[in-house]
Symmetry: C2
Subunit: 215 residues, 2 copies
């Protein structure tokens, strides 16, 4: 069976995966770029933006694993954009421009479904009101024999972890105290016991990559 993977998900020391006050100008709220500056320096991120350069060290080696073998992504609506409640603006097609980095079907969890949006480069956004199990079934069907990535934000990953649906969890611990926002770890007592492999490694950027995995 295909695996369910999380990659490059940054959290603060106090466990926040995003800050407070998301808006068009601040996708991560008051966290700004502090949770992701390690990622912005990587070649993987530069390539996502069609730019040359970027670091090719350990951060990049770990970051680059996000793409290979993935056939679909599931994301929460708050990752897709800052709108809440019924869609006021269906012209909004995500933060990622006309040619999004995903290049697979992307299932956006929302209580307000809308028609699918086909983008350039292979990305199609589907908007579904479903449980983690239901949307995972759809994503697996779309992914064929490839894996499914759970893209975030924190509450989406937390729901999938709570339902024990994740096989590979790559979390990046950033040594900052955010103070407020949305927490990843709540309600997940003894999460580590479900994963036979737990690895930690600090890279020169100062972040610590944690990988929880099962076969």
């Amino acid at each position: 069976m295909s695996r369910v993977r999380v990659h490059n998900f940054s959290v603060s020391l106090d466990g926040y995966g995003t800050g407070e006050g998301q808006s068009m100008e601040a996708p991560f709220g008051h966290a700004g770029e502090r949770l992701h500056s390690w990622f912005f320096e990587t070649r993987t991120f530069h390539q996502m933006q069609g730019r040359p350069g970027g670091g090719t060290g350990a951060d990049d080696a770990l970051a680059s694993a996000w793409g290979p073998g993935i056939g679909a992504e599931i994301m929460g609506r708050n990752k897709f954009g800052p709108q809440r409640g019924p869609w006021q603006d269906e012209e909004w097609k995500g933060w990622w421009g006309p040619d999004p980095v995903f290049r697979t079907p992307v299932f956006v969890l929302t209580h307000h479904p809308r028609p699918s949006v086909e983008m350039a480069g292979g990305t199609t956004f589907h908007f579904v009101d479903a449980t983690p199990q239901e949307v995972l079934r759809m994503a697996r069907e779309a992914a064929g024999d490839r894996d499914v990535r759970i893209g975030g934000g924190p509450s989406t990953i937390r729901q999938f972890l709570a339902a024990d649906l994740i096989d590979h969890l790559h979390v990046v611990l950033v040594p900052i105290v955010l103070g407020r926002g949305e927490r990843l770890w709540d309600g997940l007592e003894e999460l580590e016991a479900r994963f036979p492999s737990v690895e930690s490694v600090t890279t020169p950027s100062g972040v610590t990559h944690l990988t929880f995995a099962r076969p």
Copy 2:
């Protein structure tokens, strides 16, 4: 001026420095030994117990820094023991036996002062009802030109951090999700901004040592 230091303070991924339900049998509550197993393997801990052996790798190198240059410790009452409220048992002299590892004056913060207790080996427990600033003044006077260690638990360290009294903070991140207990990081937004030096290093035991320091 002497420095104020924290050493070997373990926290879980969700930021708990101790578990729920402390008792005589369970000094760290439901956390058991999970937060400290990395430490129990070190030669530093073996020596504290008068036992031979113990690891001499990076965990031990970092752990061993707790003692040198320290002239006094400040601890919270919950580190001293499981009793709450007025003392029912003044015979209780801490978890550390007749010859405690501290070998300096130790100031125990409590709303219920009691007479000082002089132990073998240089440790004297003083029981004081004081603010962080007040007890630090006492501890500095007792320490002479040596440093003062803040020994924990989480709420004591958090109070000293909130008052910006700590110069060296060594926290050990253990890759477990405790789920409940007492949190370290609450109310400390942007703590990292106060420390010009923030270092992280993962050791082969799988824990990550974080050091926040200022001159």
